[in-house]
Amino acid sequence: MISQFFVLSQRGDNIVFRDYRGDVQKGSAEIFFRKVKFWKEDGEEEAPPVFNVDGVNYFHVKVVGLLFAATTRSNVSPSLVLELLQRIARVTKDYLGILNEDSLRKNFVLVYELLDEVIDFGYVQTTSTEVLKASVFNEPILIDAGRLPTLGPASIFMQGTKRMPGTAVTKSVVANEPGGRKREEIFVDIIEKISVTFSSSGYILTSEIDGTIQMKSYLTGNPEIRLALNEDLSIGRGGRSIYDYGGSSGAGAVILDDCNFHESVHLDSFEVDRTMSLVPPDGEFPVMNYRITQEFKPPFRVNTLIEEAGSLKAEVILKIRAEFASSITANAIAVQMPLPAYTSRVSFELEPGAVGQTTDFRESNKRLEWNLKKIVGGSEHTLRAKLTFSQESHGNITKEAGPVSMTFTIPMYNASKLQVKYLQIAKKSKTYNPYRWVRYVTQANSYVARI
């Protein structure tokens, strides 16, 4: 059971503060904020999500720059509380459409109402948007969606591609559309976060895909939905014999190391034909999470060359090659590379005719930054950076610089080849034909090339 729940802004003021049990002092939010802000224990500079001050356990998660926190005196399962905090943020987002400081402040009464129903005397009652709808009466005050960072991985669909209706992910589950009628639609997003580490010789040291099939339904009447995945999908590497590889399952088989499912998912025929059936509750939720360590072709190859040019100069050549189909375009690519601490000046040389590329040398942390608006599949881009050192480099510059790390988003691309073969909605009538959006996206989680 938890004693208090509160949301603090980045400056530390209370946006909402709810005391459920009255057994933790009123000033706890202040104590908490000070502790987090000036965390200095064990040489760490960032407070861990769980800590204890004077017998009070403090839990927090950071969501869109806000601190969602809970306190308790009892020995409650930390993962339960952290999970709960994250879920409260998600429910709030379902209601408000956009979750940020502004929308929270405008809707704090609604949030109080939600909190009253979510937790009673410290015991969780429900976090289902569906159930909450029956007992929450405030209308959300919607804020302008323009250029605001939103919560959750689905927000990436707002950038770039015009194919996606931009308002979809920022639409409140409960608020009525200005036009009056609600649009019948359902979104299924296959979001894959990939982590790859390349050795200095370009060999893949580790790779992992963390995927989520995320659903957000705006369908009225909660019809049943069937979702079919690749038929050759197999789960678990442990039980397989080595002969299975390249055997009957075919070269393109998708092998998940492990996966888990939302509680609403029925898996009765999953073993047979890889279909799941569910009645999607309102709001955004993960239908399935999965993890893959099977090797896959990384979307980008990074080549780094460092050449010394005299005792106080060196040249860094960064090459990025996009190894995916030319019909696909990656967005918002950022490349970073720490440079030797004694680097004093950097001059950049982009390839001729480069468009939408910026470069920067961050003096404070000695970091090279190279941003590209987009990269078309199959293309290659090069950056030359001339470094000037303030002192003579002793020994090996490659030991003082790197590794190169990348972040990017590639819509309509998935590294794992996991697919939603079809999305079936139980029909209520012949004319009922809601919009279905099945969207794929791959994001870099940790994409690192050592040099």
């Binding site: 003021d13 209370n14 704090f108 009464v109 190391d257 030991k399 050592r450």
Partner: protein, 777 residues
């Protein structure tokens, strides 16, 4: 201090004036039935709640809020309830005002309003209003709406906290139990369980019956009742139920398998809390079944790893902390999964740190090479705390492994990076490594010898380098000269640890290379004696450093070099690397019984803070050994020559001393400086006493027996110096004594300072008689 910026946002007003304003407006609206009143009320209520949120006291509008609460607008009602719940406790008299409308609402047609009113009624937390609570609560438990029953079942425990007897007398626990076992609604059942668990655990302290009831919750029928319908409950209730089941002890193995089969699909739940609760249960159940327990580990690995990567960094931290515990318990089982513990570029440091610890734990013969290679990449990282931790991890692995060959090379390569923090961490580790594996000294010393002590700033690293200079003085060509230059800068050195190491290292170096070190040793000892800041290892008295310039005497001592070497090298210490390993084994002991243990609960970090004090005591223990040998020989000679003339002991004079006075060294020092010497004389000590002096402790003990306490002691044979103090039994008046014993002449020089000078003579008699009887027993 963080200024809470109350006026920063326009929506957050700042002061009292506004509250008064709101109060007036509320009063105007209270009786109004004009259209649009509710909207204005909403705005005002909102204002009040926003004040409440940011911590402005709005209790003064209590009666106005209550007056405005007569409304059919449910949003308004909710706001009002929230307000009342927050302030009723502090305004018990005004709270009475709310009872009426809350009780009325408890009978409303709309179950939502009934529920809300009941919840608010229970939240008033005013003891003398409980009588109004019992009726609605009893009705609520029987309500036909599950929403109201849900509220009522939690309401019972709220009532219990306000007034336990009222709750028990109304027989609510029994009603709850019935409800728990028969209600159709899963959340009502779950709430009953929560309430009953809390009530009976609290009640169990005083009532036999309650503790029986608490046990009954864990009986087989109840457990199976919950297990069989576990999927009816929401994910949060499932966690609590799983937690409860983990306390149930199944009578036989078949039942254990039944439970695990029933719950296996919970491991595939998307909610990490459910997965972890299930894992905990499985591990608890199979504690006595070794092979099944192992299988459980294999089974839970994949779901745990999926949980690590599917949530936010905070959730992943929670899961990793559990994984961390498991890895510490059974590192072997995870040794093939080491790649999962590699750090990602963008993870927060608290996650990386856990991963590093796990990497350290799972390292074995087959994967060490790769793990260390990976760690070396982190060590070159620009992120300084991360680099430090990584180097420490490499060091820990080296200390665990038998085949450290490759690791030592890697460690030494760190020194080539020429980054200050890397060098510093590495030096500390090389030192620890050499203590455990002296056979690597040749390789290490060759590299360490090239490091200029001037580039090392961190005390720990400096101390490590100095230790190596002393320990391997014979292999490091310029050791005496480096030490000498360090001694010259004694005054600029702030760290006690470094000074201590410097002292011992100079001594060690002296025994190995006397002619080159003699001067440095003299300087070091002089500086150490004069060192005013470090009462723990040297005399505190600044005035008396003159007679204690041991340097010349030591320089003339004809101690065999071989003998010296045995003394020094016998001090090989294992303590330090045990410290390094201790943190791992300690965590192992904590086990899984407690979810919290993985989260640095307060009593957790003892092992690390131990290290410095142990190092200090190791160092200090070096010193007494030197005098003990020589003083023993001298006392043997005394005996041989038959000089042992017993000194007639004087009868104990009548001065009563406090048997257990307390004085800390700093106060002693201060007092010693303030007071002037009131008595200065010579006392004699028996030859038996001198003989017994080989163990300084025995004298201290003896004096304690006479209510005289020692605060500092030290010295070399034949000169020993002690500081004693004593206190009169009836008053706080103190006596301070400096006592210099010359063991060859059997004489002691006393300097007595006293708060009350008139009694110093009497005290000196007591002291002398005590001293003369030393060794006579």
């Amino acid at each position: 201090m963080i200024p809470f910026q109350r006026s920063a946002s326009p929506s957050q007003p700042s002061g009292k004036g506004d509250v008064v304003d709101v109060k007036l407006q509320l009063r105007q609206l209270a009786g109004s039935r004009a259209p649009g009143t509710d909207d204005s009320k909403r705005d005002l209520f909102k204002k009040v709640l926003s004040y409440m949120t940011i911590g402005i006291d709005v209790s003064s509008v209590f009666s106005e809020m209550v007056m405005c609460s007569a409304t059919s607008d449910i949003v308004l009602k909710k706001m009002c309830y929230l307000y009342v719940g927050n302030y009723a406790k502090y305004n018990p008299d005004l709270a009475l005002l709310t009872i009426n409308f809350l009780q009325r609402d408890c009978k409303d047609e709309d179950p939502m309003i009934r529920g809300l009113a009941l919840r608010s009624l229970c939240m008033l937390r005013v003891p003398n209003l409980v009588e109004y609570l019992v009726g609605p609560l009893a009705l609520g438990l029987k309500d036909k709406s599950s929403y109201v029953r849900m509220v009522a079942s939690i309401g019972v425990v709220k009532l219990y906290h306000i007034s336990a007897p009222t709750c028990v007398d109304a027989d609510f626990p029994a009603i709850l139990k019935q409800l728990m076992l028969h209600d159709q609604d899963a959340q009502v059942v779950a709430n009953c369980l929560f309430s009953l668990q809390e009530i009976w655990s609290l009640e169990a302290n005083t009532s036999e019956e309650a503790s029986r009831e608490r046990e009954a919750l864990l009986s087989k029928p109840v457990i199976y009742y919950f297990l069989n319908r576990i999927k009816d409950f929401n994910e949060w209730a499932q966690c609590i139920i799983l937690e409860m089941v983990s306390k149930y002890v199944p009578p036989d193995h078949n039942e254990i398998f039944d439970i695990m089969n029933l719950l296996e699909d919970r491991l595939q739940h998307a909610n990490g809390a459910v997965v972890l609760a299930t894992i905990k249960l499985f591990l608890q159940l199979t504690l006595d079944m070794t092979d099944v327990h192992q299988q459980v580990y294999e089974r839970i690995k994949a779901p745990l790893l999926t949980q690590v990567s599917s949530g936010s960094p905070e959730q992943s931290f929670a899961v990793l902390s559990h994984l961390h515990l498991l890895v510490m318990r059974a590192p072997m089982l995870f040794s093939a999964d080491y790649k999962h513990f590699y750090c990602l570029y963008n993870e927060p440091f608290y996650v990386k740190k856990l991963k590093l610890e796990m990497l350290t734990a799972v390292a074995n013969e087959s994967n060490t090479y790769e793990i260390v290679t990976e760690l070396c990449e982190y060590a070159a990282n620009v992120d300084i705390p991360m680099a430090r931790e990584s180097i420490r991890a490499v060091g820990k692995i080296a200390l665990q492994q038998y085949d450290v060959n490759a690791i030592v090379d890697r460690l030494l390569q760190f020194l080539d990076l020429e980054k200050d923090h890397v060098t510093a961490e590495t030096l500390v580790l090389v030192k620890d490594l050499l203590r455990k594996y002296p056979q690597w000294s040749r390789d290490c010393i060759a590299v360490v010898g090239n490091i200029s002590s001037k580039n090392i700033q961190e005390p720990k690293a400096k101390a490590a380098l100095i230790w190596m200079l002393g320990e391997y003085a014979q292999d490091m060509h310029d050791a005496p000269y480096v030490l000498e230059s360090l001694v010259e800068n004694w005054e600029d050195e702030d760290s006690a640890e470094v000074r201590l190491h410097l002292l011992t290292s100079v001594v060690k170096c002296f025994f190995k290379r006397p002619p080159e070190t003699q001067q440095a040793l003299g300087a070091a000892l002089a500086a150490g004696v004069a060192d005013f800041h470090q009462p723990s290892y040297m005399f505190t008295d600044k005035e008396y450093r003159g007679p204690f310039a041991f340097s010349e005497e030591l320089g003339n001592m004809s101690m065999g070099v071989e003998g010296a070497e045995t003394i020094v090298s016998s001090q090989r210490v294992e303590a330090n690397d045990k410290d390094l390993l201790l943190s791992a084994s300690e965590k192992e002991d904590k086990g899984l019984s407690n979810n919290d243990s993985a989260y640095n609960a307060p009593a957790y970090d003892g092992s690390l803070s131990l290290a410095p004090s142990q190092v200090q005591s190791d160092l200090v223990s070096l010193e007494p050994q030197l005098p003990s040998q020589s003083s023993q020989t001298s006392s043997v000679i005394d005996d041989l020559l038959g000089l042992g003339l017993s000194v007639a002991s004087t009868p104990a004079p009548a001065l009563k001393l406090n048997a257990k006075p307390v004085l800390d060294p700093n106060t002693f020092q201060q007092k010693w400086r303030q007071l002037s010497v009131s008595l200065s004389e010579e006392a004699s000590i028996s030859p038996q006493g001198v003989a017994a002096l080989s163990n300084l402790q025995s004298l201290l003990h003896h004096m304690q027996g006479h209510s005289i306490q020692c605060i500092a002691s030290g010295g070399q044979s034949p000169n020993f110096k002690f500081f004693f103090f004593a206190q009169k039994s009836e008053e706080p008046s103190l006596f301070l004594v400096e006592c210099i014993i010359n063991s060859s002449s059997c004489k002691a020089q006393l300097k007595i300072k006293a708060d009350d000078e008139s009694s110093s003579f009497a005290f000196s008699k007591v002291f002398k008689s005590a001293l003369s009887s030393y060794g006579m027993a």
